[in-house]
Amino acid sequence: MTYDLSLLACTVLVAVVPLAPAGLVLMNTGLGRTRSAAHSMLASMAAIAVAALAYCILGFCWEGVAGGPVHTITIAGRPWDWLGRAPLCLRGVAAGAPWAALQVLLQVFAVGMAALIPLSAGADRWRMSASCFSTALLAGWTYPLFAHWVWGGGWLAQLGSNYGLGRGFLDAGGASTVQVVGGLTALSIVWIIGPRRGKYAEEGIAPAIPGHNIVYVLFGAFLIVPGWIALNAAGAILFAGAAPAQTALIAIDTVLCAASACLAALVITRIRFGKPDASLSANGWVSGLVASSAVCAFVSPWLAIGVGLIAGGLVTGAVELLELRMAVDDPGGAISVHAVAGIWGLLAVGFFVRGQMLAQVVGVATLLGVVLPMSYGLNWLLDRVSPQRSGREGERLGMDLHELGAGAYPEFVIHNDEFVDR
């Protein structure tokens, strides 16, 4: 019996990926309120479950694998591969095709991670059943459609061969397919469900509603790292043609990007507010990881540090801009961390890889011009059928009591002023 060591190494990498969503769940919960902590954890678990099923039953048939059956249209004499045509329920993934099965497995985790991003933005007010329906739309349609264009050999990946735009749109670790798609879905959700009650009063500036457990947040940020290294390395091997021998360099780039982004956020908040801000620094850390997903397989460690520094700076600015100027109430900073840093990472590939800029700009334009309106439209329709926002009572009591009937911390003494109607 012979063993394919590359396949074995890649399988081990994919098996480590779930640590990334686990860390993200912990961060999301820590950044929310005590009275919605259990709801946040359970909704995350439900979202991952729904995403896995929706992707495997329906989503994968739109995505398929590169070289598989597809729908194409011809524009100006050139074929545009716009949709996969694999059978339902993974019937196209044969037992004798372990690499294709590994691609599916990686994406089951990846789509689960994408589904967690809107949960962070909708914390404390998004109904669990609505979040499950929304996740089904994300995993069953939005994610696979865009992932087909990038990872399934679709028209964005073909920009190089069809039109001479570098090597086509490049995204090794899912900065676009996972992070920006999740971040833009989070923005759609926040636009639809609106801010938390008491966040934007009639007069004065928006008060900060701090997270309830910064230890969860920081531990989540640590836990996320091995999962993210595995995601970047496995993604680069499976979708960007990287050799397994590149894994160590990809890991170094990933860690350097995160480290520099965290330090950038820490220094900026120290200068701006007089003391370093723990939650923004943790968000800076994750923004570095998000940006690294785009660049990890294509740049040197020095450039990765530069990319991380800019990602950390961007996130601190974007969080403030969205919250105070744009009236976007995003408790976990998910839109800034995943959408803004992801877009920066994708553009950074264009800056640092020769001849790649136009393809990267076309990819970013597609995210903003197709994924955002589509995600907003689908969730808007869903909201018409089944309201996504919890009722007034849910916000007053907290999502734990309202939807689960019990709190995450039953021994806590509840103060009356927690339930003052605001």
Partner: protein, 59 residues
């Protein structure tokens, strides 16, 4: 305003895709791709303003 923003986002993407498909010269193509991206950014600003200008909740 938000609907107008969404329509501009789609229109901007249409310009980008048309530029890629129809222009062969890299200069013209780049110019039109950037123009499309500009239209998208305008749409994004409109969509954000549509939310930011929404009447705030009463105390």
């Amino acid at each position: 305003m938000k609907l107008a923003g969404m329509l501009l986002l789609l229109a901007g993407w249409g310009i980008v895709v048309s530029a890629v498909a129809l222009f062969a010269g890299s200069g013209t193509r780049s110019l039109f791709v950037l123009a499309g991206l500009g239209v998208e950014l305008l749409g994004l600003v409109l969509a954000f303003r549509g939310v930011a200008n929404r009447p705030r909740e009463a105390k």
